[in-house]
Symmetry: C2
Subunit: 704 residues, 2 copies
């Protein structure tokens, strides 16, 4: 089974860039409230945007409402979730509970395939390793952290800061017994101490079949209209008994309808909305086009492998799907960055912000140089891109092993802080362990992937390049790859041990074709790696200044970039223009059975038998999934959608493909959060899964 790319945190982009108010927006009551649309709506609970909510929705929640939804939300590994009954029932996405569903499966029954319903409470099996964190409180500790940083040198300052953060966390944990985490907002503009109560006994209550939770599979992933029942119920146990939850979201089985305001309470993982224009241009012009070229080459390689037989087709299907999903995602991000309108907005904001900083002498002296410093570093990255990308050990497992064998003796001889990042600290032990792990290699796959890499090498570097010469030796990429792979012994553990034990002398003496090539690449790759590490340090340091500047200029009026901590995002349930027509605000079971029929019941549009048998009982007009303008990203999977009354009306599980550019600049014309509708869940529990016990528990919770 391939993984769902939308929910992984692909990039950790922690740099900041601020946006200003344009004259036109300033006339608007929503903008007057300090709201800047392009930053999105991932609000922290200690800075709820009350004036903006009042202007946008005529909605002014009191502190009790905010506390209630915060304490009803829980964070689970990699995902979000919510408590939905006084018996500790927890709702999240099916794809967030996958490891649990797999773990509780037996040799006889695979609950991913069959679904799972615990008939009685005592039949709810434990999910090993699953935890749920409930955010108890937040405290601004910026001053404490800052006070501890007194040194002048960058590295010492970083060490002081990290020590101060560790101390705050340790003291908090000792005093409260809670999980304590200092969260860095605005890349150092603000530090907050987040205290969580952690529940460690979660059990599986109900999970639908993967076929219905991920209906439409990889093709429909990231898209809308969707028909997925991507939901799973867990239960928090406390001292071996269901948690008597003080805070839980009441179940609204009617769910959301078009035009309703909704609030998503969850943990968005990572956004890059505060990147500078220079950083976005680098992604647009250098990084993403090159990544797309590499992915395309890999897809071609796997396709050619898959074409060799039906067995090969099955074997490589998941690699191809996974790469295609990566391609979909990066193309989506890239489409935002290549949209002149979006980039013009970004440019306008950056101009306004720079004027603001330059207009105040104290800000100017501290921050004004940061943009140019980042831009200069990005230019250096761009200038050396082809060399550092291809004078490397990437793209082939065997070449990677040969590279580590060649690098290790020299790296081990250096002091830690002069090594390549991958060889620092415990890294060097990981490298050794990887070299000593015995594993089989598929020759054809190795040849195909190396040939793809050599093809890119040939395209991107001149024929006179030393790596091009050493790798190709005048041959075409295919032939060169075959020569290397078939001529090497790096694929044997014996050979790798021999070289490891023999150290530098053994590497120098080796005539293994991969080691010979690695000796050519090693000094070049080392130089590139050290240079990149230095540029990254420059960018990080200046991005931290940038974050401080934005916080100084705008405060919490702009929500910080996502940090996989609890946020509340707002939006409206709303269809959108799509491909010349209108995508409806919600789908239906009719639509589900339609898409199933239209693909002739074939995977990934196949429906489980239980659904076919339930057909006559279902109200086919029931909403299945629905869309809203709320602002989410990977990590938000499983977040509840809450209405004004604090009731749950849905569970978020994906964004539409039009949402991908939101990673950098938020827009809501066509980007949408996709959620499972509570009406679908209620209908399915009762009429498909015979899970009356759970439906009744939700209904009791609704009227409490």
């Amino acid at each position: 089974m391939s993984q769902r790319f939308s929910h992984r945190l692909l990039l950790t982009l922690l740099f900041l860039t601020p946006l200003g108010l344009s004259a036109q927006e300033a006339k608007d009551p929503i903008s007057e409230s300090g709201f800047v649309k392009e930053f999105g709506t991932m609000w922290t609970f200690d800075a709820p945007p009350l004036a903006y909510w009042k202007a946008a929705y005529d909605f002014t929640p009191d502190q009790a409402w905010l506390d209630h939804v915060r304490l009803s939300a829980v964070r689970i590994p990699g995902c979000s979730a919510s408590v939905v009954s006084d018996q500790g029932l927890v709702m999240t996405n099916h794809h967030c509970a996958r490891s649990c569903i797999t773990a509780v499966s037996t040799d006889e029954v695979n609950y991913q395939a069959t679904g799972f319903v615990a008939a009685r409470q005592e039949d709810e099996p434990r999910c090993a390793g699953m935890t749920a964190d409930q955010l108890q409180s937040m405290e601004d500790v910026t001053a404490k952290v800052r006070q501890a940083v007194t040194a002048r040198g960058t590295e010492e300052r970083v060490a002081q800061r990290d020590a101060a953060i560790q101390q705050i966390q340790d003291e908090c944990a000792a005093a409260t017994g809670l999980i304590c985490q200092v969260v860095t907002f605005y890349q150092g503009g603000m530090y907050s101490l987040y205290r969580y109560k952690r529940f460690q006994d979660l059990r599986l209550v109900m999970a639908p079949e993967e076929e219905i939770s991920f209906f439409g599979g990889d093709p429909d992933n990231f898209t809308y209209p969707r028909y997925d029942l991507d939901v799973t119920f867990l239960r928090i146990y406390d001292n071996g008994r269901p948690l008597l939850a003080e805070h839980f979201l009441r179940w609204n089985a009617q769910g959301a309808k078009e035009g309703d305001a909704v609030f998503v309470v969850g943990n968005p993982g990572s956004t890059g909305r505060m990147l500078t224009l220079a950083q976005m241009e680098y992604l647009r012009d250098v990084q993403y086009p090159n990544q797309l070229a590499q992915i395309a080459a890999l897809i071609r390689a796997y396709r050619s492998l898959a074409e060799q037989s039906p067995a090969a087709a099955r074997q490589y299907e998941n690699n191809i799907f996974s790469l295609e999903n990566a391609q979909k995602a990066i193309r989506g991000y890239w489409s935002g960055l290549t949209n002149p309108e979006i980039m013009a907005r970004k440019q306008a904001f950056e101009g306004e912000f720079r004027r603001r900083v330059n207009g105040q002498p104290d800000l100017r002296s501290r921050y004004a140089r940061a943009w140019d410093a980042i831009a200069a570093a990005q230019r250096q990255f761009a200038a050396g891109d082809a060399e550092s990308r291809y004078q490397s050990f990437g793209g082939s497992t065997l070449l990677g092993l040969a590279g580590n064998l060649a690098l290790l003796p020299a790296q081990a001889a250096l002091p830690d802080d002069r090594r390549l990042p991958a060889f620092r600290g415990e890294g060097i032990d990981r490298v050794r362990a990887q070299l000593l792990r015995d594993r089989p290699f598929d020759t054809e796959q190795e040849v195909a992937l190396l040939a793809a890499q050599l093809g890119l090498l040939q395209e991107n570097l001149p024929a006179t390049d030393p790596v091009v010469r050493a790798a190709l030796q005048g041959q075409a990429p295919d032939a060169a790859a075959r020569r290397l792979v078939e001529g090497t012994r790096v694929n044997t553990l014996a050979m790798r041990k021999e070289l490891l034990d023999g150290g530098s002398a053994a590497v120098t003496a080796s005539d293994d074709p991969f080691i010979v090539l690695a000796r050519v690449i090693a000094p070049l790759a080392t130089r590139h790696g050290m240079r990149q590490a230095q540029l990254n340090t420059t960018i990080s340091a200046n991005a931290e200044l940038m974050g401080q500047a934005i916080f100084a200029a705008y405060g919490t009026a702009l929500p910080p970039d996502a940090t996989f901590t609890l946020r509340i995002s707002d939006g409206v349930v709303k269809g959108f223009p799509m491909n010349g027509t209108i995508a409806p605000y919600r789908t239906s079971f009719y639509g589900l059975f339609g898409r199933n029929a239209e693909f002739d019941d074939q995977p990934p549009f196949h429906l489980p038998d239980r659904w076919k048998m339930a057909l006559g009982r279902l109200d086919l007009t029931t909403p299945v999934d629905f869309v809203s303008t709320a602002d989410i990203i990977g990590g938000n999977s499983g977040s509840p959608l809450v209405n004004r009354q604090g009731e749950v009306v849905g569970v978020a599980f994906d964004g539409n493909i039009e949402m991908l550019p939101n990673r950098f600049i938020f827009t809501d014309e066509v980007s949408r959060t996709v959620s499972v509708h509570t009406a679908a869940i209620t209908e399915a529990l009762k009429k498909v899964y015979g899970a009356e016990r759970i439906a009744a528990e939700l209904e009791r919770a609704a009227i409490r």
Copy 2:
């Protein structure tokens, strides 16, 4: 009810441009057969591409197959159709029979709303004015036409050619009693005499409700997935009795399935695939952007009118829909021309073709200058675009009337061939009749539309422009428009009569604000009009050379541009990548009821009661619409889709939005023909309309 833009012939583009074979294509057996994909597959019946069909589908129809499908097809006004029973039953689109359905409606019953089913043959009402033309034969008359053209001057040559064509047509009609038309292919590269048998007694047999035939309305127009039962049955009567048809398509109630080869037999109206690169660049850079700006201004004007009251909203709804559809269409065409990949292909083909012409001395001397002559004329068009577009009487009915009043005396005094094109021949009488037609004017609408036009004028011409000065007199467009409209009497028949009768003197003496403005515009507009007429003559003459050149270089291996004459296009039933996922090859009744539910049963997604009542009887998995890679354009509406066995498997009614760029360069990666599936028609006839008589007639036809 708004009209369906996709089926009107928006543009008559009769210029030619040829495409060459790239080296890569030449390796492909399909390309070796002479097929050049970018020209599409609108084949004439006298040059069926047998080698290409053999290579593409392993299909080699014999002459009997070709004759059979040709003689089973009929052309009806503006559309295509086919005979589908031995009793002269004719199938076409509902939207092609609209005038008939409206005409046979009564004061009590509107069959557009209710649908119509003739219970017995004697209940089939006559469709006044409806004809059906059956193509009997084609004859190449190029030599005859060419022989008649002996003069040297362009205008004399045109007159000789037209006279020769008229003579051929007249002689044919006298000899055969058939409808005879000489069709100009390749813009004069080839002339063919088409002989049709015309049937003049067509009657209405069965029409569904407009709500189901145009389900999804304007939003879904041009798009896919679709759920339209866009079909109507007529019957040809001969001597007052149903035609005993010798040729008819057998009904295949299973219809098409994914991967099937299908052939569309119908009358595509107009394509511009043989335009030169310079002509396409003019459309891309000048004409379409300006048309889009004008449409956007009109939409804004109608929206502001519509906002004034619910009654106004209803009144202007159709204007807005119609403009939005025009916008959708032009944006679609434009998207092809602004696609660098598509344009690069075009450029490559033009280069190859020019080399081919330059490589043969006889071709070179006759044709090599034509490209540059066209490009020069297009440059002149582009240079004068803003002036000729806005120093004009366009955009306002009242300004148009004032313009004709101001122009008429001078135009009438000139010899015919020195007049503006609109005033030549019978044109001048039409202008007079239009001025003398009594009609009401809506002041607010006139103000809004004129203000939109004046806004564009102000944006596109300098403030010192004489028309800008005379029209705006320093006011904003809104105020100027109100001053003009409220101050004029051109809206009264009395005033227009007075000015017509008074001639030049009355026009000169008038102080009516519109007439004063028209006196400023008239000499400028006259100059632009004469200049444009001259440029058009240059382009036409050179485009004719271009057509001769392509025919000389490639022959009938490239299908000619569409001419609203019978063609056979081929394709495969096939889904396509859409918005990140896959559009299925066909839709279903499940999907229909889904889209109905998802828009809460609201128009244009409302379903007729008859459909709701039939729900329990319908097999909801039945295919409704399906897509194929066949090549169609406006005029193909109602064309049958025929399988290898010559059976009918569907009726074409639209293209998807991705098909719009095909007007200029054919591609089939995502562009698709959308057709009603015969299974849906059979199911609906039996289970929704109780039209067992017709279903049985089709079934009898299937087994004959």
